[in-house]
């Protein structure tokens, strides 16, 4: 094969599809970003501009000053962080049991945790609303924290079970032989090794809680509203204020993107280990 032909093949089979796919995946983000910095005259003008002539950060200012976007951000953070800690705690215990013990009912229990993910959100939504109202926690952060904890438990157990099964038993056995009891062996030996995996699983949980909309819209009010609900509420009677909405969108995805890039490698390992080995 000549050099020219090889280059042409590479361009056609590699560069072109890569550029096209990336264009498709990334362009919408470029578009919401430049929408967020366009002045109103360019947003709803006669021609569509691909780079604003007069970029402005007014929308971001308005979002924080006029619409108090800090409030939903704080709410989202409280909900997501609490759900993350709670889920990690109970999921680690369960995953440890599944990976270290063979006990009666292990298999049905594991199946149960997995099938838990299969129930449609809309199925749980209606009765949960009634239950939360009866318990008097509707419209408090607790309603969302409980819901998100439950929905992220199965996948987290799955992920952590995958990581734990990869850790050799000999690690703990040595400690147990030395006279440590099981909780001690876990805290001293397993936990330190497990930290990166816990972080990756935590990022997954946080991301889900941060982004969830369907429950949030039913279970929150003015005071406890989370970011996705607030974004949607920027749509007023007069139509959508696209500059505000896109600015809010950019602010929403930045924290999860950063966390995600940080934990990406571990998370991918866990997802595939969970999917393939378990």
């Amino acid at each position: 094969m000549g050099k020219g032909k090889r280059l042409a093949t590479r361009a056609l089979s590699f560069c072109l599809p890569l550029v096209l796919l990336f264009g498709f995946l990334i362009f919408p983000f470029y578009w919401i970003f430049i929408t967020s910095i366009k002045p109103e005259s360019e947003l709803y003008g006669g021609t569509v501009t691909y780079w604003p002539k007069n970029p402005t950060f007014d929308a971001y200012r308005a979002l924080f000053v006029d619409y108090n976007f800090v409030k939903p951000m704080t709410n989202s953070f409280i909900v997501a962080a609490s759900a993350t800690l709670l889920t990690l705690f109970v999921a680690t215990l369960a995953a440890y049991a599944f990976s270290r013990f063979r006990f009666k009912g292990r298999r049905p229990l594991m199946i149960m945790f997995l099938t838990n993910n299969m129930f449609p959100t809309v199925l749980l939504l209606i009765p949960l609303y009634a239950i939360m109202r009866r318990l008097g926690i509707l419209y408090t952060p607790l309603a969302l924290i409980l819901s998100y904890t439950t929905f992220t438990i199965p996948f987290s157990v799955w992920l952590l079970n995958g990581y734990l099964s990869d850790l050799p038993m000999s690690l703990e056995e040595a400690a147990l032989v030395d006279g440590a009891n099981r909780p001690q062996a876990f805290v001293r030996i397993i936990l330190p090794v497990l930290v990166p995996c816990l972080v990756a699983t935590g990022v997954y949980i946080f991301m889900n809680a941060w982004n969830e909309y369907t429950f949030a819209v039913m279970f929150t009010n003015e005071k406890s509203r989370t970011i996705p609900v607030s974004l949607r509420n920027l749509i007023g009677q007069l139509g959508v204020q696209w500059d505000l909405l896109t600015a809010g969108g950019i602010i929403t995805i930045i924290p999860v993107c950063m966390m995600f890039f940080f934990a990406q490698k571990r998370l991918v390992e866990g997802l595939t280990a969970g999917a393939v080995k378990g």
């Binding site: 990336f22 298999r107 299969m118 199925l123 909309y213 949607r232 959508v240 969108g249 595939t272 393939v276």
Partner: protein, 292 residues
């Protein structure tokens, strides 16, 4: 120490997770089943009471229900199908060596971490009939002459929302398949090279079989997820115009918002049964693999 005589330990450890799940999933599921046999319309609170299978027989006679079931099938087949195809392409591309590969990998995952609400709204803006960028691009390259209000027309709205869900799901497939690709031993390809296999032969005889489990699990996770997804469609179109983009999940959500909880519960039970039916072979295989 995988001891058999662990006694009460494992049960104590599983108990907290089990309790939360039971409270937030199993009790509501039971409630939903009960509700589905009641006339439970909050706009008519005095008529609340058991009506046997009344909701179900009404659902079966509801043409909107059947249309939304059909639409859900199309939504899942095309949505997940193209997510898989493009996700596989992306995984293969990202598996090659090139400058900036790490950054490209991270960046390509952003759609996956974007909230569904935002996805719905941002694509609504892209498809906008007056100021939308898609119309501008299509007019500039001469495919259309006048702007098309994609989300306001019954014939274009459903393809438009499907493109959006495809966009959303490509990264997850790419992520999983890429990790799988990196686990395929290089010797297999080297041996095939010696045998003179071509690119396609290698792809279908080595790559695909090696990734079988990953493909299987990922696809089924996506099917469940896509079938259940409400936020993208709801925030783009609300299911309209004239129900043209209403999948079953969105129909249930709309009915629940309209406070007809009995009817909505009956439909959501049916949706669950359909998903369980699809998931049984998945669970069986999954456990065969895991327990090996």
């Amino acid at each position: 120490m995988r001891d058999k005589k662990a006694g009460i330990w494992p049960y104590l450890l599983v108990a907290p997770a089990l309790l939360v799940v039971a409270a937030v999933v199993f009790v509501p599921v039971g409630n939903a089943v009960l509700m589905s046999f009641q006339s439970y319309d909050l706009r008519r609170p005095f008529a609340i009471g058991f009506i046997g299978a009344g909701n179900y027989s009404a659902v079966f006679k509801d043409t909107l229900f059947w249309q939304s079931v059909l639409r859900t099938v199309i939504w899942v087949v095309f949505g997940v199908g193209f997510q898989f195809v493009f996700g596989f392409c992306l995984a293969l591309l990202l598996n090659r060596d090139f400058k900036g590969r790490g950054a490209a990998r991270s960046v390509s995952l952003i759609p996956w971490v974007t909230p569904g609400v935002l996805i719905g709204l941002m694509w609504r803006w892209i498809y906008d009939g007056s100021y939308g960028v898609l119309n501008d691009i299509l007019m500039k390259i001469g495919i259309i002459e006048n702007p098309v209000p994609f989300l306001a027309r019954q014939d274009t709205v459903f393809p438009a929302v499907i493109v959006t869900i495809i966009w959303q799901g490509i990264p997850f497939f790419a992520l999983m398949l890429l990790a799988g690709l990196q686990g395929v031993p290089a010797e297999l390809y080297e041996a095939a090279d010696i045998d003179g296999a071509n690119v396609f032969g290698k792809f279908f005889h080595i790559t695909v079989p090696s990734l079988q489990n990953t493909i299987y699990v990922t696809t089924l996770l996506r099917i469940i997820w896509v079938a259940n997804s409400v936020d993208v469609i709801y925030n783009m179109t609300g299911g309209g115009p004239a129900y043209a983009s209403q999948t079953l999940s969105v129909y249930v959500f709309n009915k629940a918002n309209a406070l007809n909880l009995g009817y909505a519960s009956a439909m959501s039970i049916l949706l669950t049964l359909m998903l369980l039916l699809a998931a049984v072979p998945y669970l069986k295989t999954l456990f065969k693999i895991r327990e090996g």
